[in-house]
Subunit: 295 residues, 2 copies
């Protein structure tokens, strides 16, 4: 039975009881509009902890674009049903006043990792993410927190933030869940028109081709140029960035000598989509094929 | 018996034992060079908790002036002796690498409260304070944290930061301890020459006179102008700021209608001294006379 809690005080009282009984507590921070990608996080959380909290909070501070915030899909009832079916113990759905009460003025920022990639195109976005995630981790006092690898830069920032601020929580990244045609699951996918939805998977396809080619020895800049070309040729309006970065530090990489990540953001049908894949210096990459969730 | 601990891991293991035995844990964050002002914090901590941690860490991130950092007094052995005599249970004395390991990039900032007053003259200072205090609170997981009212802006910032980031700790401010002549205790006082030391108390005297006059109905700007004049006439080289502010929000106040604070920073003999006093709209102020610690 999944319960809904809307205040920090209620949340803490539930978690304190769980901890008192010796239960390990996991949290999956989300902005709602839950899809199979989120449910894979919930399942991974259940495998790691006795109790699973899913927070559902559309965080205004991480939207640099008011229009994007207004359009962000919200359906709490549907989210609750999914979480009940998925075996989450608690849905934490605070309103904005509970998270940012009057007089709120504190900001957490993670420099370096937050610059470039999505950070370059969404000013203030990662400060908003870092601030709300720090709060959610401290509010829940969870033992483990799970995040999707689809938001790879976000995951790297959160790992760093948790280490830097000495928050006692284990951060776990979970592989991106994809549609059968390779498109990474995203709450934004529902905003794609019928034709755009058919074009959309070319982003993942181009990434994976480039990843395989770089692993096979193709020059990085050449592989990236070809991928960019393929995405635009498929019908995407713009490629915001397409870059190879170090897996941990997110520093720019021009040769594949350590584990790296190829990351992309591109616009299609007025929707901004992101994706990324892992590259390893060895020949056989672990993520060169779509990871399909059959549920 | 006071013990010394130098790593987060050791600190956490000790605190976990204390919490497991049901002990309440207090922390007094300091930069060492302990004086009676700090020991008043330790005593207040002992009154509120079974276990008292005193952290001794000269935080490089809160020094905007490398010269000030280099000159900051350090005497760990003397600090340890004072803490042993004062009944602290643990001295936490990490080195800079333990607090800021390689790759550290996270910053906590508290806007509004950090601007103006000391914030205007020490760029980045309060970001450094907020970041290290957040870390110390999360490292110690203390139930209560005590800070001196002498650093009043710092105290206001920490109260806000703890609320904003949902850190589960009670923040307690402790009255400024003064020399018999009224000079607020400070680790920087030892840097005053003999003559400057005689002049120094005029700062507190001018503050208290102004506070009494404002409470008695004198116009704020007039009282401040007179106090500034008195400090310079006594031999101070410069008054950096001398302002009346709201006790909670630190917003500028031009009339005494709510509890307020008169705050000053001034330079004497190459040393920057700060002080502040409370003002209440009623006739009898609680802090119009020096608070003398006879120890």
């Amino acid at each position: 039975m999944t319960r809904i809690v809307r205040t920090v005080a209620d949340l803490r009282s539930v978690v304190a009881q769980w901890h008192d009984s010796g239960d390990r507590v996991a949290v999956v921070p989300t902005m709602g509009a839950l899809h199979d990608g989120h449910m894979a996080l919930v399942q991974a959380a259940r495998d790691m902890a006795e109790r699973v909290i899913v927070s559902v909070f559309v965080n205004p501070k991480q939207f640099n674009d008011a229009n994007d915030l207004a359009k962000y899909p919200r359906d709490e009832e549907a989210d609750f049903k999914r979480l009940s079916a998925g075996g989450a113990d608690l849905m934490y759905a605070p309103d904005a006043g509970e998270i940012y009460p009057d007089g709120f003025v504190t900001k957490v920022s993670v420099s370096g990792l937050s610059e470039g990639l999505c950070g370059a195109h969404r000013p203030g976005h990662f400060d908003g993410v870092a601030t709300v995630v720090a709060k959610l981790l401290l509010q829940t006092r969870a033992d483990v927190a799970l995040f999707g690898e689809k938001d790879y830069q976000q995951l790297a920032i959160i790992r760093r933030l948790v280490r830097d601020l000495d928050i006692e929580v284990e951060v776990v990244g979970v592989s991106t869940v994809r549609e059968p045609d390779g498109l990474a699951l995203s709450s934004r996918n529902v905003r794609l028109g019928e034709n755009a939805r058919k074009i959309a998977p070319s982003l993942a396809a181009a990434l994976m081709t480039a990843a395989r080619n770089i692993e096979a020895g193709q020059e990085v800049s050449q592989a990236i140029a070809e991928a960019r070309q393929a995405v635009l040729a498929a019908g995407y309006a713009e490629v915001e960035y397409l870059e190879l970065r170090d897996s941990d530090t997110l520093e720019r990489v021009s040769k594949l000598t350590k584990p790296a990540r190829l990351l992309v953001a591109a616009w299609l049908d007025g929707v901004r989509l992101i994706d990324n894949v892992a590259l390893t210096p060895e020949a056989k990459p672990p993520m060169s094929r779509p990871n399909v969730d059959g549920k």
